[in-house]
């Protein structure tokens, strides 16, 4: 009985979470004239794909998407590389000043992001990276949170495994590449997802850095519609729907990795 109540509450909560998404999906298929007329779902014969058509014909939506993919992809790959490498060093090597370095890193995490906007802009400006994708990628290359995430996970890799690799002929980078990274696969999956979502949805920094519309990422491009295509909420909803899809797909792809990682070793060999 108690179980039934718990499940009902869970279902209710899940439905609540789905409401905005359902609303988004419905809105994407509504004609602009119906947008405020039918608050939920209009009759089936009034549904239209016009929003999607205008998305691709009246604005460079495909270009926004490609830009987003490029920036998010490059950032995730670089972040993954540097964060895991940094995490590996912090987890498995002793060096002078290690504690200080970690303290400073932790301290940087406590600084609120907006405080850094002005100095960061100055820096990027002097590097000549304003209005370029590099201006988005370079500041995001190293992620302190990611480093600690990897450090925590790599602490559990047994030292003997590293020593075995050393004796088997690996240099230190090969140990990282051939042994530690494959063993850390679950955390790699989790990190990729977090990093991808962070970059994909990033709004404030690209808004500041990017000026030319052909370099806009999706969030900036979509936001642009409010000003320029004032009435076109339908197209914006259609665009948002398409923008959410890659994250959803990635989540389902990596979900398997999560589960594989979490259940590994649960059964005694």
């Amino acid at each position: 009985m108690r179980r039934v109540v718990v499940y009902m509450l869970l279902v209710l909560f899940a439905l609540l979470c789905l409401v905005p998404i359902a609303w988004l999906v419905a809105s994407a298929f509504k004609a602009n004239a119906d947008f405020h007329v039918y608050p939920v779902v209009p009759p089936v014969d009034r549904l239209t794909l016009a929003n999607f058509t205008s998305l691709f014909t009246q604005m460079p939506f495909l270009r926004f998407m490609m830009n987003s993919f490029f920036v998010a992809g490059a950032t995730v790959i670089l972040q993954l590389f540097f964060s895991s490498l940094g995490g590996f060093a912090l987890a498995k090597y002793d060096f002078a000043g290690k504690k200080t370095v970690m303290g400073v890193m932790l301290a940087t995490m406590m600084i609120p992001g907006p405080v850094l906007l002005a100095p960061m802009y100055e820096l990027i400006y002097h590097m000549g990276l304003i209005d370029s994708h590099l201006g988005l990628i370079v500041p995001g290359m190293v992620n302190v949170f990611g480093m600690f995430l990897f450090r925590q996970s790599m602490l559990s890799v047994p030292d003997e495994m590293l020593q075995a690799a050393r004796i088997d002929g690996c240099n230190e980078f090969q140990i990282f590449w051939h042994v530690v990274m494959p063993v850390s696969r679950p955390i790699v999956g989790a990190f990729c997802l977090i990093a991808f979502m962070g970059t994909w949805n990033s709004f404030l920094w690209p808004q500041i850095i990017l000026q030319s519309s052909d370099r806009f990422t999706l969030p900036i491009g979509l936001n642009q519609m409010i000003g320029v295509y004032e009435a076109d909420y339908g197209a914006m909803m259609a665009g948002t729907l398409l923008a959410v899809l890659p994250v959803v797909v990635l989540f389902f792809l990596l979900q398997k990795e999560f589960i594989a990682g979490l259940t590994k070793g649960a059964v005694k060999g």
């Binding site: 003997e160 050393r166 090969q174 494959p182 063993v183």
Partner: protein, 369 residues
């Protein structure tokens, strides 16, 4: 040729703890050397210095005459089997075995052929495509062995490779490793805390205590001529009785006072030990299995005591005896002698089976031959 030599090697950790003192030890090419001692005695540290996993604080480590103190492990061409096996969980058995060869960038065909050959030798062929997580302890141990054997190293290092196996499998693998080593003829250094393993496997055994090498010799010599009370007590199971004693000269050879009783030793003890005249014998050693039947020895070579406890071992029994002054003596006697706690009995001492130790724990020098 790959002779290994430690020359005055010390290991001091940054916190000041000294794990190994002034180690001098040579291991001949093709030899099977076992390093044994209680935990914390420095045997594993020594092995890890040889592998290059620990730095050497001072002294020299030579492999084939070349000083390798500062060489990265990968440059030493040494294979090692770890206590935890340290297999790569994301690779199949085949991937694990092939890994060292791939790192050495051998041609793919050769890698495959050699891995297969070793897998066949260790009967791992049916398991090649499995991941370590799906193997039993014994199988994992074999994979770890295979990963070491597949290379052509100057030496195999083994750090308690059998300690995670059950007793039966351990005995079986003990014999297999020893046979394998004889077949490949590769220098092998084997670390264990189990003196039975040490005695049965090694060509020579090095006994460590508190970071110091106590004695290195053949198993038989260690057993028959331990250099000090530690080696005497550590080698042999059950361990040797060490009993306080006093020796004084007497007619017909020296005599001992043990637990308040007088035991006359014959001249024959002088053929075994090198007496100098002013020797201060403080302890005698007597192995439980050397305690003799009192009927077989002269009346002046008996000790008397009260049985405290007996343990039946089938054909024999362990008898824990309290001697007249309360000293505990363990004897391994025939089981047909019915004994109960509280019985007063006599046991015989055979001078030829006695070990003599001085105040500092060193054995009295043995005579050559």
């Amino acid at each position: 040729m790959a002779e290994i030599a430690f020359r005055g090697v010390n290991k001091i950790y940054p916190n000041g703890f000294q794990a190994v003192y002034q180690l001098d030890l040579s291991i001949a090419d093709g030899e099977f050397l076992v390093m044994v001692g209680p935990s914390g005695c420095g045997k594993s540290t020594t092995l890890r210095m040889l592998a290059g996993l620990e730095t050497i604080s001072s002294g020299d480590l030579l492999i084939a005459g070349q000083r390798v103190n500062d060489l990265h492990p990968r440059a030493r061409n040494i294979a090692m089997v770890f206590q935890s096996y340290a297999l790569y969980p994301h690779k199949t058995v085949q991937g694990n075995i092939e890994f060292p060869l791939r790192m050495a960038k051998l041609p793919a065909a050769e890698v495959k052929a050699r891995a297969l050959e070793v897998a066949r030798m260790l009967e791992l062929e049916p398991l090649l495509q499995r991941k370590p997580g799906l193997l039993s302890g014994g199988q994992r141990q074999r994979v770890a062995m295979a990963r070491a054997l597949v290379r052509d190293p100057v030496a195999f290092l083994m750090d308690e490779p059998l300690s995670n196996l059950d007793a039966k499998l351990r005995v079986q693998m003990r014999a297999e490793i020893a046979a394998l080593q004889r077949r490949t003829g590769t220098t092998t250094v084997y670390v264990t805390h189990d003196q039975v393993e040490a005695m049965t496997m090694g060509d020579r055994v090095a006994v460590f205590k508190d970071g110091r090498l106590q004695q290195v010799d053949t198993p038989q010599q260690l057993f028959e001529r331990p250099v000090n009370t530690f080696v005497a007590g550590f080698i042999g199971s059950p361990s040797m009785n060490l009993i306080a004693a006093r020796m004084e000269p007497a007619d017909g050879g020296p005599a001992l006072t043990v637990a308040g009783e007088r035991i006359t030793l014959a001249r024959e003890i002088e053929t075994r030990f090198d007496f100098t005249g002013d020797d201060r014998i403080t302890h005698i050693g007597l192995r439980p299995e050397d305690v003799a039947d009192p009927q077989l020895v002269d009346a002046d070579r008996r000790l008397h005591g009260r049985v405290a406890l007996t343990e039946l071992l089938g054909r024999e029994q362990m008898v824990y005896l309290d001697l007249r002054d309360g000293t505990r003596l363990v004897a391994r006697l025939r089981a047909d002698r019915r004994l109960r706690p509280g019985d007063d009995i006599a046991v015989g001492i055979d001078p030829a089976r006695l070990y003599l130790f001085q105040a500092d724990g060193r054995a009295l020098p043995y005579r050559q031959g």
